[in-house]
């Protein structure tokens, strides 16, 4: 037990970066505003989401009360939470159990696999509470207050809320451990990253779709009908997988029956946990060790082939560009996050149109009207630019180099050329994204070809400016210390800061465009003025970028 506790302590420390935080706060004393800003953003963003969610739950509760089943709100919350944890748990567990770097250190230690597994499980569990508590507590409180529940409800409920993530997480873990034992999925870590990102993408689109389909003005009736049509579904899930409603029954059934369900739920969670630990002892290390290779080519390249390759020379900037390109394309997490965000945005924006077909055709026919075509093109440009503001390719460009940044410092290529290569790389990807977004609009709105070309051109100009700003932000405070590529892009505040900066600029550009359009200035003049403004902003920015690169490539230490 003592070794287990010390292992847990060390792991908590490493995983949540406690010592590193302490060091930063007490020794280095730098960038204290950063965590404060993050906290601020989380509180605002999370808080407003929580309020929205609570209102939804309140609706569900009142709707349920109407049909005599107020406990539906609990079932809803428990099921949604458990389902979410189950799905994301699979990916989370895979990455923490099998893809994390510390396994090389842990395996040689004189510990039972179950202990290592237990520690990792607890760490994931703590992470999951960040999702589970905000999802469960509102429902729990709403039902408790709404039905004047007694003290036993509150006591049992607190325990159940704390226990709720365990069951789905254990099931996910058992699934993953068995999967890893029998299929060698570790080889295709990259594939898992892609699958995980796609899942997140679809979930995002799905949630958006749902909220879009709530008719405005009569939300309440909608919720009632939703509940009525879905009680069948909930019951069906409950029948197929009874534990999912045991929590609700344990909370709402009277007397001994309630206590029975309560104990049943907890008992099952603990039992499955024991099964997991047992399975872990038997299979965990074996599964880990069986899949540690990187694919190697079967045959070496021939001498002639090598000669051909060696003879292909390129200028330093082109060589740097090729490096950026290859590393970006070959790291799925970069690729998915870099491109997906940009392509997803127009989807989300067009969604409301797609779900309300009448309005859609109305808007489209208006846009096709030659009188409004210039406005439609401007709006399309706006959509394209908004989408490209989701771009985090440039704003993580230095960070992505991580520990290999020493190579960039070492090579005899001026910082100016190095950031130029990065700018070309990110702008190429921007151009691809712009075209991908513009083409559907082009066909949907029957846009004239010259308009398409103009808006892509202006979009590209604006994207170059955006990418310059992204590079400046990343240069100012790059995150070079990371072990997994994921940290460079997902846990990087720069991407967020760059988005803010870009939105600000887009806001100004958009405002100017609207103002000019309202004044009745002709279309081509508006484009001309926009292009001029962008260029006027870009020129000093790019010189600023070069000067900053010169300073930072010298002073950054890794």
């Amino acid at each position: 037990m003592k070794t287990f506790m010390s292992l847990l302590k060390t792991n908590l420390n490493v995983y949540f970066g406690i010592s590193a935080l302490k060091y930063r706060f007490t020794k280095e004393k730098k960038r204290l505003w950063e965590p404060i800003l993050v906290l601020f953003a989380v509180v605002i963003g999370g808080g407003s989401l929580l309020v929205l969610y609570s209102f939804l739950l309140l609706g569900v509760f009142m709707g349920g009360q109407g049909i005599g089943h107020p406990e539906i709100v609990l079932t809803f919350a428990f099921m949604a939470t458990q389902l979410l944890i189950l799905i994301f748990g699979i990916f989370y567990i895979m990455s923490v159990f099998y893809f994390s770097n510390d396994m090389n250190i842990l395996i040689p230690l004189p510990l039972r696999p179950a202990e290592v597994l237990g520690v990792k499980f607890i760490i994931i569990l703590i992470g999951e509470y960040l999702i589970a508590l905000p999802m469960l507590l509102p429902a729990f409180i709403i039902y408790g207050l709404g039905t004047w529940s007694n003290i036993f409800y509150w006591l049992k409920g607190l325990i159940l809320v704390l226990m709720a993530p365990i069951l789905p997480l254990v099931i996910a873990a058992i699934f993953v451990i068995l999967l890893m034992r029998f299929i060698n999925i570790r080889k295709s870590k990259d594939l898992m990253v892609v699958l995980g990102s796609l899942l997140g993408l679809f979930l995002g689109i799905g949630v958006n779709f749902l909220t879009q389909s709530i008719p405005q003005g009569n939300e309440k009736e909608f919720i009632t009908s939703l509940i009525e049509s879905n009680t069948g579904l909930i019951e069906a899930i409950g029948n197929k997988f009874p534990p999912s409603i045991w929590a609700t029954l344990g909370l709402t059934s009277p007397g001994w029956q309630g206590l029975g369900y309560f104990l049943l739920f907890i008992g099952l969670s603990l039992l499955l946990l024991a099964v997991l630990l047992w399975l872990g002892n038997a299979f965990f290390y074996k599964g880990y060790l069986s899949g540690q290779e990187v694919q190697r080519k079967a045959k070496a390249i021939s001498a002639g082939d090598m000669e051909k390759r060696a003879l292909k020379t390129a200028s330093p900037v082109v060589a740097l560009f090729k490096r950026e390109w290859k590393l970006f394309i070959r790291t799925p997490i970069y690729f998915m996050n870099g491109i997906a965000g940009m392509i997803m945005v127009p989807f989300l924006m067009l969604m409301p149109l797609a779900t309300q077909t009448e309005k859609m055709s109305e808007v489209v026919s208006l846009a096709k009207d030659p009188k409004y075509a210039p406005i439609a093109a401007l709006v399309s440009l706006g959509i394209m630019l908004f989408a490209s503001s989701m771009n985090l390719i440039s704003s993580t460009s230095i960070s992505r180099e991580g520990r290999t940044f020493w190579i960039s410092k070492l090579i005899p290529v001026s910082p100016k050329d190095q950031v130029l290569a990065k700018l070309i790389h990110s702008s190429c990807l921007s151009l691809i994204a712009l075209i991908l977004i513009a083409l559907p609009l082009y066909f949907l709105l029957d846009m004239l070809l010259y308009r398409l070309i103009i808006i892509i051109f202006i979009g590209l100009l604006a994207n170059i400016l955006i990418n310059i700003l992204g590079l400046i932000i990343d240069l100012l405070r790059p995150k070079l210390e990371w072990n997994d590529p994921q940290e460079a892009i997902k846990q990087n505040l720069n991407a967020f800061l760059a988005m803010l900066a870009v939105m600000f600029i887009m806001f100004i550009l958009g405002g100017i465009a609207v103002l000019l359009a309202l004044k009745g200035i002709s279309e081509l003049w508006i484009y001309g003025i926009l292009a001029l403004i962008i260029v006027l902003l870009s020129v000093p920015s790019i010189y600023g970028l070069f000067a900053l690169a010169h300073r930072k490539y010298n002073s950054l230490e890794i």
């Binding site: 190697r296 080519k297 070496a300 060589a319 290859k326 520990r403 070492l410 230490e557």
Partner: protein, 240 residues
């Protein structure tokens, strides 16, 4: 070829003085061994020499070119291998070598010759088409070494180059270093293996707690006490 004047560097806003007023001169044709206990400041000095760290104070010149004033030109004369190389995992060995050759502007013909020569020497020819991700520690080190020497730099700066190499590769590297210096070039390397330093180096510098405490040929270090081995000298000097 290497000229270091009153070089200083501290970490954590001056609390850790890693290199303290270091003066050093390495002549053409010389293999220079840089010794010192763990944490003495070897890696810090080397990183400043190749431009990875900015000195707090002092100057460095490589092949007559000032590292601060004309860094790009100075860097072209350096071949550097770090003690623990992190390279681009997702490039193949060949792609990495071509990248290095491109940024150092190595002409096609010379590039081809040197790549095949070095790969042959380090026995890497078969692996060069694979992603670097799949390389062993030693293979990674050898591909970095190959990449660092492609442009035939006059000054080699190597941080513990023998660590992790198999006996044959390490032997070949030592021979290669000798050959390089016999052509009038310079090798500067840090090591903990005193036998290597004893046999290979023309001159030796010993650093302790950031200060250079001894420098000279083996004989000079012995102060005429013929019997003393480098090990004894090292232990005596660094024992404070």
């Amino acid at each position: 070829m290497i000229e270091i004047k009153s070089l200083s560097k501290s970490y954590n806003k001056g609390r850790v003085k890693a290199v303290d007023d270091l003066n050093l001169h390495v002549k053409p044709g010389e293999i220079f061994g840089f010794l010192g206990p763990n944490g003495a400041g070897k890696t810090t000095t080397i990183k400043m020499m190749v431009g990875l760290l900015t000195p707090d104070n002092g100057s460095i010149s490589i092949a007559g070119i000032d590292m601060m004033k004309n860094p790009l030109e100075a860097k072209r004369n350096i071949g550097y291998v770090p003690d623990n190389p992190d390279v681009y995992d997702r490039l193949t060995g060949m792609e990495y070598l071509n990248f290095m050759a491109d940024v150092y502007k190595v002409p096609a013909k010379e590039r081809k010759e040197r790549i095949s020569y070095l790969l042959e020497m380090f026995n890497l020819t078969d692996a060069v088409g694979d992603l670097i991700k799949s390389y062993s520690h030693g293979m990674k080190q050898k591909i970095v070494l190959t990449g660092a020497l492609l442009h035939n730099p006059a000054v080699w700066i190597l941080d513990e180059p023998m660590v992790g190499l198999d006996p044959k590769s390490s032997h070949l590297l030592k021979e290669f270093m000798r050959k390089h210096c016999d052509q009038g070039n310079t090798v500067f390397f840090s090591t903990h293996v005193l036998e290597v330093a004893e046999k290979l180096c023309d001159r030796i510098g010993i650093i302790n707690k950031g200060k250079l405490i001894a420098i000279g040929t083996l004989d000079e270090l012995r102060h005429g006490e013929q019997a003393d081995s480098l090990e004894n000298i090292f232990l005596e000097l660094t024992e404070i």
